[in-house]
Structure formats: structure tokens, C-alpha cells
């Protein structure tokens, strides 16, 4: 049984209007090969769910995004993502702005098939003002504390990039941080994993604890060496800072690595 497919096949399975979760964090281990395939497809009106980086920036620049759900959009070494900024300042996209911890609880709720999870993060801030649909709940116990009920961040499709995977869809990270990629896989109806290398035996590559995503959560695997570039994919490669700088400084129309 093999789930190996091409990035183009993944992109073709994404339909206009869908909610797409994108793994990684900022400009770290973003599934850029899959994002580029989506950029080349005719799809539009996507809702993007992401600890945002150039994935969000590029999809905004290309007119693919209707809404962005994120606590930030950044290139890390370059704090502000230029294309996301432009889209926001032009009023071209809708924005659901969450606190980082709220966002994780939204992923956790979706991964556990709960309608929401309660948290203190967000209370008292303007996150409540700019998301008028957010509700609070009161603890049913003696404390009676009021908490934010973060709605589940369910998604139609999740795209993540991992260091290694096998043909059945089991996927492995070898860097220092798993980010929240397993939660995206669990929160989505379909998850597609791109990876640096498809291998036969994942335990020859790293320890048991590095097996982050189970094949039961994975619809397709794409072998895409360098597929996170220019974002980082430790320990296979670091961020290509020169290329990222060129991306940040180029008008979108002149950016030739789309």
C-alpha cells in the first residue's frame, strides 16, 4: 500500500472555499513545495489556519486567501511578512486574530473532536473585540471562573512538511521542535505530508519519539527534497536567509520562485 503522490495531485484535491491548515511555525519547516503547488492551481477563497510565515504571505499575494486565522504572520529573522501586511492594509483579506495559546487550544479541540476548549488566554484583550463570535464559558465548579471557549479549528485539509516519512504515511521529525504538526494532522479531514525523503525504516533515521504522525491521519505522502525551503528544516538544512531576504524585498510579480 503506498500513498506516495505528487504535489500537483495534492493541490488538485484542494477545492475553492476550503479551510486549509498549514504546519510549521513562522518561517520554520513550512510545506513550501505543497504551498507552491497550490499557488499554481486555480483554487481560490481559501481559509488559511497557520502559525503564519511565507506560506500565508505567498497565498495572500497570489489572491488565494479569503481569510487568515493566525496569531501572527512573520518571517522570524525578518519580523514582518510583507505580503500579508499588504493584504491586510489593502483590506484584501479577512482576519481571525487569536492569541498563540488560544490557537493551540483550537487545534487541540479539533484534534480531540471537541467543540471548544476553555482557556484564560485572550480574556481582557482586544482579541475578544475583533472576534465578536468568540464566547466565554463559566466553570461549573466552585471557582466559577469565566474562560474563553476557543472553538475547534477543524479543517478540510492540512499540509505539513516532515523530515522523513514512509510510503504508508507514517511521518517523522528529526529537528529540535515538532511544532504543532501532529495536531494539524489530527484536526483535518485529510492531511498531506511532504518530506525530505521517503524511507523504508523510520527507526533507522531517528528514535521512537520522533515518530510524530501516524498513517491513520495521512491521506498522501509527497517526497520533496528541499520542500520546506526557503524556510528551515532542521537538521536537514537551515533557513536560506539570502533567498528569504530576496522574497521579502521583491514585488510579488517579480518573484520568480513561486
Amino acid at each position: 500500500m503506498t500513498k506516495v503522490m505528487t504535489a500537483e495531485e495534492v493541490a488538485a484535491s484542494v477545492e475553492s472555499g476550503m479551510t486549509v491548515g498549514i504546519g510549521g511555525w513562522g518561517s520554520r519547516r513550512k510545506p513550501m513545495a505543497l504551498v507552491r503547488a497550490v499557488l499554481r492551481s486555480p483554487v481560490r477563497d481559501l481559509t488559511l489556519v497557520s502559525y503564519g510565515g511565507p506560506d500565508v504571505g505567498m497565498l495572500c499575494a497570489a489572491g488565494k486567501a479569503r481569510r487568515v486565522v493566525a496569531p501572527f504572520v512573520t518571517l522570524d529573522s525578518i519580523p514582518l511578512e510583507p505580503h500579508f501586511r499588504r493584504a491586510r492594509q489593502a483590506g484584501a483579506i479577512e482576519f481571525t486574530e487569536y492569541d498563540e495559546g488560544m490557537f493551540m487550544f483550537g487545534l487541540l479541540a479539533a484534534a480531540h473532536r471537541l467543540p471548544f476548549l476553555p482557556t484564560r488566554a485572550g480574556l481582557g484583550s482586544d482579541v475578544m473585540r475583533v472576534n465578536p463570535g468568540l464566547r466565554t464559558v463559566r466553570s461549573p465548579y466552585a471557582d466559577g471562573e469565566e474562560l474563553v471557549a476557543v472553538p475547534a479549528l477543524t479543517m478540510d485539509v492540512a499540509l505539513v512538511h516532515m523530515n522523513r516519512a514512509d510510503v504508508r504515511g507514517n511521518a517523522q521529525y528529526l529537528g529540535p521542535d515538532p511544532y504543532l504538526d501532529d495536531l494539524y494532522a489530527k484536526a483535518a479531514a485529510r492531511c498531506y505530508v511532504s518530506c525530505e525523503r521517503v524511507v523504508d525504516d523510520l527507526l533507522e533515521e531517528g528514535p521512537l519519539q520522533s515518530l510524530l504522525i501516524s498513517r491513520s491521519m495521512v491521506t498522501g505522502v509527497v517526497e520533496a527534497p528541499g520542500g520546506a525551503g526557503f524556510t528551515s528544516c532542521e537538521p536537514d538544512y537551515g533557513r536560506d536567509e539570502a533567498l528569504q531576504r530576496r522574497y521579502a524585498e521583491s514585488p510579488w510579480e517579480e518573484w520568480d520562485e513561486r
Partner: protein, 240 residues
């Protein structure tokens, strides 16, 4: 000889005094990271510090250096857990701050269609609701110290902040010790006048009758700083 940046780092380090065995998190830049490491190496040895990514370091390396000893793992998911758990004191930045310590890093102008989109709220709402928080503001000006912030990312004392410990700027140290929880001047850095601080602040600031000077770094602290930051990158972060 100590410079303004040294005074600022020490004033930031003082924010962590008494914190004990919790994570001292400096968010980016040289000054806040140096402050946490300096505090740990001098008067607050129980502090935990990290490498800027996801390692808790057993030793205290210089800026940009890898630790020789790693004592813990703090990937983003654990960091987000720690924020809710509360065993953490973070020193954040702010593009705008008001007299109750409400801060904005999200956007300038109307949120619906901002004049300038900045980072987004990031973790500021949860940080300030759950953890002791301090601020480092390298350019004290009326553009930053505003009557009202455009988007409340970090909570002020009037919106349920857990604890706002202090605000350190290139000019002064401030806290929220006024009876109504509003900002007051704690000390001015050597060479700075109270009038300068007032002129650089876009709201009424509590001014005690006698404003002390921020303390100078000790010889020991300067030695530690020279080891942690031999290239003096802290100087480039502090407005003249």
C-alpha cells in the same frame, strides 16, 4: 566603563529579582536576553534561561553561542503550556503602551483595515493574563507611550493583567505602583532628566517627589556582560 545599554540591561535584569526557579524569558534582541542571563549569573541563580529556540541551557552561554550543557527541552507547545502554568516571567516589547500598561504589537490604526499591520497579538494576551510580565522599550517616545493603544494585545492593570512588574526604557524605569494601577516613574537613568521622560511620554505619568537615579552596573556585572556580549550588540539596540 559602563554605558547606557549596560544600565538598561541591569535595570531589565532587576525585573527578575526574587523570581526563583522559573523561566526568565527575554523575547528577542540583545538586551532582554542578556538581562535574563545576567540575573541568573549574579543575584538570581535559580532562574531558568533558554537558547532562543527550544533548549533550556544548563550553563549560560554568550549571545549567539550554543550551550555546553542542556538541562531541558522547551519546544513551542511546551512554551505555550508554560505560559498557562505561570512559572515564567517574560520581558516583552511593545509598539504602543498606555498608562495602565495595555500594549499593542498587532497593528497601527483601525484593526479592520490597519494603516500598518505589525506582528499580530502573538502570545501577548495569554502572557499578560497568566504570567508576570515586564517590558523593554528601547525608544521611549510619545509615539510609543500613547493615551490609548490601537489594539490591546497585552493586558494592562485595568484589564486583568496577572502582574506587570516594570517597564524599562532607554531613559528610565517605570512601574504600575500608583494606587489606581497607573504608570509612575521609578528612576531615571544616569544623565537623563525627569523632564526628558515626561516630554517623551504621551500621557500623565506619576512622578514621586524625589526621583532616584537608576543604579549603575557593578564591576562584577560589567565583567559578566563583557563575557556574554563581547561585541557589545546591546549598544546597537538602545536609542541614544
Amino acid at each position: 566603563m559602563s554605558g547606557r545599554a549596560d544600565v538598561c540591561v541591569v535595570a531589565c535584569a532587576e525585573a527578575f529579582r526574587g523570581d526563583g526557579e522559573i523561566l526568565a524569558a527575554g523575547i528577542g534582541g540583545a538586551v532582554t536576553v542578556l538581562a535574563a542571563r545576567l540575573a541568573r549569573l549574579t543575584f538570581e541563580p535559580g532562574l531558568l534561561t533558554h537558547d532562543g529556540a527550544c533548549l533550556l541551557t544548563g550553563d549560560v552561554p554568550a549571545l549567539g553561542e550554543a550551550p555546553e550543557v542542556v538541562e531541558g527541552w522547551l519546544p513551542f507547545r511546551e512554551h505555550l503550556w508554560l505560559v498557562l502554568n505561570g512559572r515564567r516571567h517574560v520581558m516583552l516589547g511593545a509598539s504602543q503602551i498606555d498608562r495602565y500598561g495595555n500594549t499593542n504589537i498587532s497593528c497601527i490604526g483601525d484593526w479592520a483595515r490597519p494603516k500598518a499591520q505589525l506582528l499580530g497579538v502573538r502570545g501577548a494576551p495569554g502572557n499578560t493574563r497568566c504570567d508576570p510580565t515586564s517590558y523593554w522599550i528601547p525608544r521611549h517616545s510619545p509615539r510609543v507611550f500613547v493615551p490609548e493603544v490601537d489594539m490591546v494585545s497585552g493586558l494592562g492593570t485595568d484589564r486583568g493583567a496577572f502582574e506587570l512588574r516594570r517597564v524599562v526604557t532607554n531613559l528610565a524605569v517605570l512601574d504600575f505602583g500608583a494606587p489606581d494601577g497607573s504608570m509612575r516613574l521609578v528612576s531615571v537613568h544616569p544623565g537623563v532628566s525627569v523632564d526628558e521622560v515626561v516630554a517623551a511620554t504621551g500621557f500623565d505619568l506619576g512622578i514621586p517627589p524625589n526621583v532616584p537615579r537608576t543604579r549603575e552596573p557593578s564591576d562584577e556585572e560589567l565583567l559578566v556582560l563583557d563575557r556574554l556580549d563581547p561585541a557589545r550588540s546591546r549598544d546597537r539596540e538602545v536609542a541614544a
